[in-house]
C-alpha cells in the first residue's frame, strides 16, 4: 500500500497540559491502553471470583449456602460473558491493540485520538451497566453466556425480567465502544504506518490484532442485531425469537418467532469472536517466541496468509456450535467440512512456532515460558476442537464437560497465557521497570500446570457423559461416585490457580516502584516499540522525528551481523560489510 503522509506530521497533536487531560480524559493511545487494560483486568478478577464460587459448589456441593442454583447459573453466565468479551476482547484489542499498533507501526498515535478516548469511556460505561446487573431485583441474567431465548426472557431463568435487559444493553454499549476503537485500529494500521513499514514487514502482533479487529467489525453487528431484537421481544412483546409457548402454565403471548434465528445471529458473531481472541494471541506469541528464541519467525509469509485465511474461514463455520440445535441436519456436512479445513492454516501456525524454536538460541525468560506453555495448551485445545468440529464426533460429546474442557483450553487458558507472557514482555516498556523474575516463574508454573490439572480430567468426564451447566449431580445411574471425587480434585486445582493470580497482581503493583530499571530495550528486540527515544514512551512516541523502517521485524541472529538482533529502523549501511537484508517479502 502506498505510503500515506498522515503519520508523518512532525508536530504533536492534542498535547495534554493538565493532569486530567493527561491521565483521565487522555487521548494518548498509551494511556487509553492502560485504562482499557486495568478495567478489563479488574472486571476479569470479578469473573475469576465467580468461577471460584462455581467450582466450590461443584467440588463440594451444598457446603456453601450462598451458592443457590440461581446464583450458580448467574455465575456461569457472567463468568463466560465477562471473560470472553469484557476481559479478553477488551484487553487484546483495547489494551494491547491500543498500546502496540501505533508503536509497532511507527505512528505518533491512533488516527482518531478523540474517538479512541471515547471508546474507552463508552467501554467503561458498558462495564458499569454490566456490574449494575448484580444490584437490580432478580440479579443478573442466568441464561448462560449464549443467552438463548426463549429461556433468557421467560420466568424460570434467573434475571429473566431485568437482568437480561441489562446484559443486552451492556453488550450494545460495548459494541459501540468496540466499533469506535476498532475503526481506529484498522485505519491506523492501513494509513499511519511510518515510512518503510510495508504490510509484509509488520510484526505478527499487528497482523493478528488487525485481522481480529476486522473480524470484530464484521461480527459484532450480528450480536447487536440479536440483542436489539431480544430486547424488543422482552419489553415490547414482539416475536422475533419467541414462538407460541406455554410458560409456567400460562397461555402463549407470542407466536411465530424462531429461537434458532437467535442462535444463528449469536454464533455468526460467536465463532469469529473465538478468533477475535485467538488471532491477537497468535500474533503476540509469534513475536514473543521469535524475540526470546533470538530467531526469526519461521515462514513469516505463511503466517500472515494463515491469519488471513483463518479470519475469512471463521465466518463460514459458525453453525458447528449448532449441530444438535435442531437446525436442518444436512447443514452438518457443510459446517463440518469448513471447520476441519480451518484446522489446516491453524496447524501451519503451530508448526511454524515450533520450527521457530528449532535451531534457535532459546532464552527461557518468563515471557518465553508463557509462550511455550501456550503452544502446549493450544495444541491440546486445538486438537480437541477436531473432535467437536466433526459433526458425528461432536454429537456424543456436545453439551458435556468435554466441551467445557475444550473451550477453556483453547480460548481460556491459551490466550490468557499469552496475555501473561505479553505483560511480562512489555511491562518494561510500559513502566520502565522489569517485573520480578522469581514471582513470574512461580506464577507461570502454578498457572500452567494447575490449569492442565483442571482441564485434562474434565475431558474424560465429558466422554463419560457428565453434562455441563449442572448445578449439582445425583439421582443418575450412569455416573459413578468417582465423578464427584474428580470434581473435588478439579476444584482444588482451580483454587490453587486462582490464588496464584494474586502473586501476579502483587508483582504488577510491587514492580511499579521496586522493579529493576529496564532500560529502553531489555529483551534486545527488533520491533519499533523498543526503539523509542524514551521509556516509557512520551506523548507522540518518537520525539521530533518519526522512525524509518528498513527491514522486516525478525532480523535476529543474522549471519555476519555484530549483534544477534537488528532493529527495524536500523539503516542498512550501518550493518555488515555485505549490508545484507534478508527478508522474504518484496
Amino acid at each position: 500500500m502506498a505510503y500515506v503522509a498522515i503519520a508523518d506530521r512532525d508536530h504533536v497533536l492534542h498535547d495534554p497540559e493538565t493532569f486530567i487531560r493527561k491521565y483521565i480524559w487522555s487521548q494518548d493511545h498509551k494511556v487509553i491502553a492502560i485504562q482499557y487494560s486495568v478495567t478489563a483486568i479488574a472486571i476479569g478478577l470479578v469473573a475469576l471470583g465467580m468461577s471460584v464460587l462455581m467450582r466450590l459448589q461443584l467440588g463440594f456441593p451444598h457446603a456453601f449456602s450462598l451458592i443457590a442454583p440461581n446464583n450458580y447459573y448467574q455465575f456461569i453466565t457472567m463468568h463466560g460473558m465477562i471473560m470472553v468479551i469484557y476481559l479478553l476482547t477488551a484487553l487484546f484489542l483495547g489494551g494491547f491493540g491500543n498500546y502496540l499498533i501505533p508503536l509497532m507501526c511507527g505512528a505518533r498515535d491512533m488516527v482518531f485520538p478523540y474517538m479512541n478516548m471515547l471508546s474507552y469511556w463508552v467501554y467503561l460505561l458498558a462495564v458499569l451497566v454490566l456490574v449494575a446487573g448484580f444490584f437490580i431485583p432478580g440479579g443478573p441474567t442466568g441464561a448462560g453466556w449464549t443467552l438463548y431465548p426463549p429461556q433468557s426472557v421467560l420466568p424460570g431463568t434467573p434475571g429473566s425480567s431485568w437482568g437480561i435487559i441489562f446484559m443486552l444493553v451492556s453488550l450494545g454499549i460495548f459494541i459501540v465502544a468496540f466499533t469506535m476503537g476498532g475503526l481506529n485500529y484498522v485505519t491506523t494500521v492501513l494509513q499511519a504506518r511510518c515510512r518503510g513499514m510495508t504490510l509484509m514487514r509488520m510484526p505478527l502482533s499487528v497482523w493478528g490484532i488487525f485481522m481480529a479487529t476486522v473480524l470484530g467489525l464484521l461480527a459484532f453487528p450480528a450480536l447487536l442485531v440479536g440483542a436489539v431484537m431480544m430486547t424488543l421481544d422482552s419489553l415490547l412483546g414482539t416475536s422475533f425469537f419467541l414462538p407460541a409457548v406455554v410458560s409456567m402454565g400460562q397461555p402463549p403471548t407470542h407466536s411465530g418467532g424462531s429461537p434458532l434465528l437467535f442462535q444463528h445471529l449469536f454464533w455468526f458473531f460467536g465463532h469469529p469472536e473465538v478468533y477475535i481472541v485467538a488471532l491477537p494471541a497468535f500474533g503476540i506469541v509469534s513475536d514473543l517466541l521469535s524475540t526470546h528464541a533470538r530467531r526469526h519467525i519461521f515462514g513469516y509469509r505463511m503466517m500472515v496468509w494463515a491469519i488471513l485465511a483463518i479470519g475469512c474461514l471463521s465466518f463460514v463455520v459458525w453453525a458447528h456450535h449448532m449441530y444438535v440445535s435442531g437446525m436442518n441436519p444436512y447443514f452438518g456436512f457443510f459446517f463440518a467440512t469448513t471447520t476441519l479445513i480451518i484446522a489446516v492454516p491453524t496447524a501451519i501456525k503451530v508448526y511454524n512456532w515450533v520450527l521457530t524454536l528449532w535451531r534457535g538460541d532459546i532464552h527461557l525468560t518468563v515471557p518465553m515460558l508463557f509462550a511455550i506453555g501456550f503452544i502446549f495448551t493450544f495444541v491440546n485445545g486445538g486438537l480437541t476442537g477436531l473432535f467437536l468440529g466433526n459433526v458425528t464426533v461432536d454429537v456424543p460429546l456436545s453439551a458435556t464437560y468435554f466441551v467445557v474442557a475444550h473451550f477453556h483450553m483453547v480460548m481460556g487458558v491459551s490466550p490468557i497465557l499469552v496475555v501473561f507472557g505479553a505483560i511480562y514482555h512489555w511491562y518494561p516498556k510500559i513502566t520502565g521497570r522489569m517485573l520480578n523474575d522469581t514471582l513470574g516463574r512461580i506464577h507461570f508454573w502454578l498457572t500452567f500446570l494447575g490449569t492442565y490439572a483442571i482441564y485434562l480430567p474434565m475431558h474424560y468426564l465429558g466422554i463419560l457423559g457428565v453434562p455441563r451447566r449442572y448445578y449439582a449431580f445425583g439421582g443418575t445411574e450412569f455416573l459413578p461416585e468417582s465423578v464427584q471425587s474428580v470434581n473435588a480434585a478439579i476444584t482444588i486445582s482451580a483454587l490453587f490457580v486462582a490464588a496464584v493470580q494474586l502473586v501476579f497482581l502483587f508483582n504488577l503493583i510491587w514492580s511499579l516502584s521496586k522493579g529493576k530499571p529496564a532500560g529502553g530495550n531489555p529483551w534486545r528486540a527488533t520491533t519499533l516499540e523498543w526503539q523509542t527515544p524514551d521509556t516509557p514512551p512520551k506523548h507522540g512516541n518518537w520525539g521530533p522525528k518519526l522512525p524509518v523502517v528498513h527491514r522486516w521485524a525478525y532480523d535476529y541472529s543474522v549471519p555476519g551481523a555484530k549483534e544477534d538482533f537488528i532493529p527495524q529502523n536500523q539503516p542498512p549501511d550501518a550493518l555488515t560489510p555485505a549490508g545484507r537484508e534478508q527478508e522474504p517479502a518484496s
Binding site: P69, G299, F448
Partner: protein
C-alpha cells in the same frame, strides 16, 4: 531444562491418563457404535499429532537452550517443508472428516421402517406420545395446551384421537426396532440426551426436531436435559426403558389414548363426601389438618397433586422407605379408595371445602427465608400457589410442620427415592440446597407469609380436567 522435562512429563502423563482413566464411554445401547469409532479414529490421529508436536518442541527447548556462544540459525523459509506439512495435515484432516461425514449420512437418513415416538420437553419434566393404530401422530398447537390437553393435540384432527399418551417421565422402547424420535418443547429449549444412545438433539419450541436410533440392549437409561433450560435444568430427569417387544406392548397397553383422556368425566363432590369420611378422622372434617395426628391440611391443595399422591400411596411409590412411617400409615388408607372414580370423587369433595389459613408452628426468620425461596419459586410460583405445568403443589396456606418434615425426608432420601417417583427425585436434589435446620424454618416462615391468591386467578380452565389427563387407562 525444566521446561523440556515438564513438556516430556506432560506428554507421558497425558498418555498414561488416557489409557488408565476409568472414565470412558458408557457401554453403548444403540446402533451408533459408528460414532464411538469416529471418536476413536480422532483420538488416534490427534494423539499422534499431540505427541509429535510436543516432543518436537520439548527437544527443541532442550537442544537449543541458550548457552554461551550459541547462535540461532537464520533460514526464514523452507517452502518444501511447509508444503509437506500442509499436505500431511490435510491428509490427517481428511482421515477424520471422511468417516465422520459417512456416519453423518446415516444419521440424516432415517430408515423407512422406523416407527415414530414423540418426546415432549417442558420445564422441568418429560412426556411422550406414540401414534395409535394409524401410525400417524395428530397435529398439535401450543395454543391448545391446557391441563386437560397437555400435549396440545388438535381435537379436530382425527389422526390424534388414537395417539397414546405417556404422562410419566418414563419412556419404553422395543429392542432392535429402529425408531425416529420426534422432539418438541412446550416452553424453552431442552435437549433429549441419553448417554448410552450417543445421539441427542435439542428440543426447540415452535418446531419439531428429530433423531433416530435402534436400541440394542435392554435396560433402563437416564434421560438428561443437556440444553440449559432454567433454574431446575440440573434436576430435569427422565428414563428410557428398553424392553423386549412383548414387555413393551404390555406397557404400551396400559397407556390411555387421547380420545380416552378427553372423554373422562370429572369427579363428583357429593359422591366423594362418603369416601372422605375415613379421611376426616385424621385430616379433620374441613380437611384443615391435625398436627397432633400428623395429618396435613388438604383443603386448597391442587387436586391433581392429591390424586397423584393417593395413587402413589396405593402403588407403594410413596411410603416405600421404612423410615417414612406416616406415609406407611397412608397406604392402607388410600387403599380404601377402590378405583380412580373414588379418588376423583374424594378430591372433588376436598376441592369444595373452604380454604382456611393454618397458624404458623415454626419460628423462622421470614426475611432470610425470602432469599432461600427464590429457588422454590421457579416451580412453585412466586406466591407459593403451585403450578400445574411444573408438577409443583401449592405451598402457601399449607401446614408448615408437614412441609418441614417432607423437606427433611427429601434431604435424607426417605421420600423421593422410589424409581417411579420422578417429581420426588427432583425434590431430593432441590432440598439439598437448604443448608441446615434453620434454613428450613426460615424458608417455611416466609412461605407462611405468602398469599396464594396474590398469584391471580388460576389459569386452569378446570381443575378436574387435569385430573382426567393424569388417570391411567380404564380397566387396567
Amino acid at each position: 531444562m525444566a521446561m523440556a522435562v515438564a513438556l516430556l512429563l506432560l506428554v507421558v502423563g497425558t498418555i498414561l491418563f488416557h489409557f488408565l482413566s476409568p472414565w470412558w464411554f458408557t457401554p453403548i445401547a444403540s446402533n451408533w457404535k459408528m460414532m464411538d469409532d469416529t471418536v476413536n479414529i480422532t483420538f488416534v490421529v490427534t494423539g499422534i499429532v499431540f505427541v509429535a508436536v510436543n516432543l518436537f518442541m520439548a527437544s527443541a527447548v532442550f537442544l537449543y537452550r541458550h548457552r554461551e556462544g550459541q547462535k540461532a540459525q537464520y533460514s526464514p523459509e523452507n517452502k518444501k517443508l511447509e508444503w509437506w506439512l500442509t499436505i500431511l495435515t490435510s491428509v490427517g484432516v481428511a482421515a477424520m472428516l471422511t468417516p465422520g461425514l459417512f456416519v453423518w449420512a446415516k444419521f440424516v437418513t432415517v430408515p423407512k421402517e422406523a416407527s415414530v415416538v414423540e418426546a415432549v420437553g417442558q420445564q422441568w419434566t418429560w412426556s411422550y406420545r406414540f401414534p395409535g393404530r394409524d401410525g400417524v401422530l395428530g397435529t398439535t398447537d401450543a395454543k391448545l395446551i391446557t391441563p386437560g390437553n397437555p400435549f396440545g393435540i388438535d381435537p379436530k384432527d382425527p389422526k390424534g384421537a388414537d395417539d397414546i399418551l405417556v404422562s410419566s417421565q418414563e419412556l419404553h422402547l422395543p429392542i432392535n426396532k429402529p425408531v425416529k424420535v420426534l422432539l418438541r418443547s412446550k416452553d424453552v429449549n431442552h435437549q433429549f440426551a441419553v448417554a448410552q444412545f450417543r445421539v441427542k438433539m435439542d428440543m426447540v419450541p415452535g418446531m419439531v426436531t428429530y433423531f433416530w436410533l435402534t436400541p440394542t440392549r435392554t435396560g433402563r437409561y437416564d434421560v438428561l436435559c443437556e440444553q440449559l433450560c432454567g433454574l431446575a435444568h440440573f434436576a430435569m430427569r427422565g428414563r428410557v426403558v428398553v424392553d423386549e417387544e412383548k414387555a413393551f406392548q404390555t406397557w404400551l397397553a396400559t397407556k390411555p389414548t387421547y380420545a380416552e383422556t378427553a372423554a373422562r368425566v370429572a369427579g363428583n363432590a357429593e359422591a366423594g363426601r362418603a369416601n372422605y369420611a375415613v379421611c376426616s378422622a385424621c385430616h379433620g372434617p374441613q380437611a384443615q389438618g391435625n398436627q397432633a395426628l400428623n395429618a396435613p391440611k388438604l383443603n386448597s391443595q391442587a387436586g391433581w397433586y392429591l390424586a397423584r399422591q393417593l395413587r402413589n400411596f396405593k402403588q407403594g411409590i410413596r411410603g416405600a422407605d421404612d423410615r417414612d412411617t406416616y406415609a406407611k400409615q397412608m397406604i392402607p388408607m388410600a387403599a380404601t379408595l377402590a378405583d380412580d372414580t373414588a379418588i376423583n370423587n374424594v378430591i372433588a369433595y376436598i376441592g369444595s371445602l373452604p380454604d382456611e389459613r393454618t397458624p404458623a408452628t415454626l419460628a423462622g426468620d421470614p426475611e432470610r427465608g425470602k432469599s432461600l425461596y427464590t429457588t422454590c419459586a421457579a416451580c412453585h410460583g412466586n406466591a407459593g400457589q403451585g403450578v400445574w405445568s411444573t408438577n409443583a403443589p401449592r405451598l402457601a396456606h399449607m401446614s408448615d410442620w408437614y412441609l418441614a418434615r417432607q423437606l427433611r425426608n427429601f434431604q435424607q432420601g426417605i421420600r423421593g427415592t422410589h424409581p417411579q417417583d420422578f417429581s420426588g427425585a427432583q425434590m431430593v436434589l432441590m432440598a439439598k440446597i437448604l443448608p441446615d435446620e434453620r434454613a428450613i424454618d426460615d424458608l417455611l416462615a416466609y412461605v407462611h407469609t405468602l398469599d396464594a391468591r396474590a398469584a391471580g386467578p388460576d389459569p386452569l380452565p378446570s381443575r378436574a380436567a387435569l385430573e382426567r389427563a393424569e388417570l391411567p387407562r380404564r380397566g387396567m
